[in-house]
């Protein structure tokens, strides 16, 4: 049964298209009283507008080849010459237009997904074999610049200008090494291990972590539907995704605000589902809304691309949301974002509902079952690598500790000098760039605060550190941190 809607002018037609009704095909005349059909066609297919797109059959008078070419170029699926109109040709045009339209739509979606996953694969490859090669090349640069330095210093007089240039090369190489580490940190290639879970329970488990991550100035509101269905996802990746989006929300609300986390069951109709690249059906929706800066249309378009970031260089790798996107797609779901500049953003994730019962998450989550005592002491964490420092903060704060951060020895010393409250512990990396390394900073801080407890961290084997004497007296943790190990050592040291 065909339902016909008529319009006599372009504006009338556009008004209908902008309305709520579902239009399956548009027959568009080239010659309209108020505008020409091509301009209407352009508007229908312009991604900027909120229209369709819809399958379009262009109607034209005899002999207008250029119109036909333009029509197809600007997106029409087919054309009909008015003098040739008959029930058959109309029917054929209608069917063909819809078929071509659906094929194209699926094709461009597939293409978009393919490009995206190629980029993600590129990221994955970067963090796999290529990171290894990069590290080799960096080591070569390190070694030769160090040699160059040694040779130049031997000259009499020493070649000062050359030495300065060598220092520049060394700094750049170090920056390269940092970048590689960051990428590897954020692009962990873990295979997805989906489980049937209750999304509300997962959110409840990370609620404390979220509150700590977002800080005191961001209020978290939970609007979780009690009857929400189970979903089939990797719980670790889900948590990772939520934390990622929460951190983005926090960064958009630097003066504070509200983050609302909502879950509910939804039924997605054809169009809604298609917009998300999904089939119609039952889904569980997870939405995170913030009251932050919001995004422009341009930013919104790129938001899920790997390496796209609005943050300044050095802060953020631009990989967070692309990983969220990847995770959602691989879980059979879809993601959408609504945002207006200065009106906040809402990220909505849709996961297919599962009919299976959720496994009790506590059965699977070994780490959270470990009864490690926390505390509420104040710990000064000193670490030059931002990501590692952030991790340490998150691990410690989750157990209740109060964390003060410093990125180098001098900063730590300044904090020790100016901080009014008691600092119970100094947890510092041993080797850090700058004037004061961890050991030197620790020695000076101990003078200022004799009661302060010390724990050291290092990425190297203990024996390689100069001034081993000082280090030997205190606990030493190896990087990368094992959360349990870190917490146990800190707790034991505080108690000693």
């Amino acid at each position: 049964m065909v339902n016909i809607k008529e319009a006599q002018t372009a504006n009338e037609g556009l008004a209908i298209l902008k309305g709520r009704e579902k239009i399956d095909c548009v027959f568009l005349d080239f010659r309209l009283p108020d505008r020409d059909g091509i301009s209407v066609l352009k508007e229908v297919y312009d991604k900027e507008t909120d229209l369709g797109p819809f399958p379009v059959v262009m109607l034209t008078g005899q002999g207008s080849e250029s119109v036909i070419i333009d029509a197809i170029r600007y997106g029409a699926q087919d054309y009909l010459i008015k003098d040739n109109m008959s029930p058959d040709t109309l029917y054929i045009a209608l069917t063909k237009a819809r078929e071509v339209f659906n094929l194209k739509k699926k094709g461009s979606e597939d293409k978009a997904l393919l490009v995206h996953s190629q980029k993600m694969k590129a990221v994955g490859q970067l963090t796999g074999g290529i990171a290894h090669d990069f590290n080799n090349l960096l080591t070569i640069i390190y070694g030769n610049t160090r040699l160059l330095e040694a040779l130049l210093e031997k000259l009499k007089p020493p070649a000062r200008e050359c030495l300065n240039k060598v220092e520049v090369i060394q700094k750049a190489a170090k920056r390269g090494a940092e970048l590689v580490k960051r990428l590897m940190l954020f692009s962990r290639q873990r295979a997805l291990e989906p489980q049937t879970i209750n999304i509300n329970r997962q959110i409840a488990e990370i609620e404390q972590l979220l509150r700590r991550t977002l800080g005191a100035f961001v209020e978290i509101k939970l609007d979780l539907s009690e009857t929400v269905a189970s979903i089939n996802v990797d719980p670790g990746q889900l948590e990772h995704a939520v934390i990622n989006m929460a951190v983005n929300a926090r960064d958009a609300m630097l003066d504070g605000g509200v983050l609302t986390i909502m879950t509910k069951n939804v039924t997605l109709e054809e169009k809604q589902a298609a917009d998300l690249g999904l089939k119609a059906g039952e889904y569980v929706q997870l939405s995170l809304s913030d009251t932050g800066l919001g995004m422009t249309k341009e930013v919104k378009r790129c938001i899920f691309e790997p390496f796209f970031t609005t943050k300044e260089t050095g802060k953020g790798t631009g990989l967070g949301l692309s990983m969220v996107y990847d995770f959602v797609k691989q879980s059979g779901g879809g993601i959408s974002v609504e945002s207006e500049r200065h009106q906040g953003s809402t990220f909505s994730l849709f996961f297919p509902s599962s009919s299976r019962t959720a496994v009790l998450s506590s059965e699977n989550d070994k780490t959270r079952n470990l009864k490690i005592e926390g505390g509420n002491e104040t710990i000064l964490v000193v670490e030059d690598e931002e990501d590692i420092r952030f991790l340490a903060r998150v691990i410690l704060e989750e157990q209740g500790y109060r964390v003060i951060e410093a990125s180098n020895g001098q900063e730590a010393l300044d904090i020790a000098l100016t901080e009014k409250r008691k600092i119970d512990m100094l947890f510092t990396d041993v080797t850090m760039p700058g004037e004061l390394n961890g050991l030197q900073a620790a020695a000076r801080i101990q003078v200022l605060r004799p009661d302060i407890k010390l724990v050291f961290a290092t990425g190297y084997l203990a024996e390689t550190i100069p001034d081993m004497e000082l280090v030997r007296r205190y606990p030493l943790i190896n990087k990368p941190y094992q959360p349990e190990n870190l917490l146990l050592t800190i707790r034991n040291t505080l108690d000693s």
Partner: protein, 131 residues
Amino acid sequence: MGSAQRKILVVDDNQLLRETICDFLNFSGYEAYQAKDGSQAIAILNREKPSLVITDIFMPEKEGISTIIDIQKYYTGTKIIAMSGGGLFNRSDILRSAKNLGVDATLEKPFDFDDLIAQVKIILEPSNAEE
């Protein structure tokens, strides 16, 4: 210190890197030899009997690990430093395997070359560690 204590074998499939490390070791007063894979390494071990082997772990598969096992079996007493391709979280499990095998030290690329020499000193001249 006898001359044998100064012989070091560097095993890595990357030629430039091998040469860089050997250059630096020679510059620092040691006698460095190169091998690009496990079998070359064994040949040099037989011929020169170095007291320390610095070896990459991947090369390109897990050849580094099997080289380490061979050295421990057939050239006991030879010290070993294992190098890894770097990356904090993904490679740490490989480094951990090396540590579990009982190598004398591990280094993550890219490493500071002063650290490398400090390690070498400590391993080969424990009584002369301070410089």
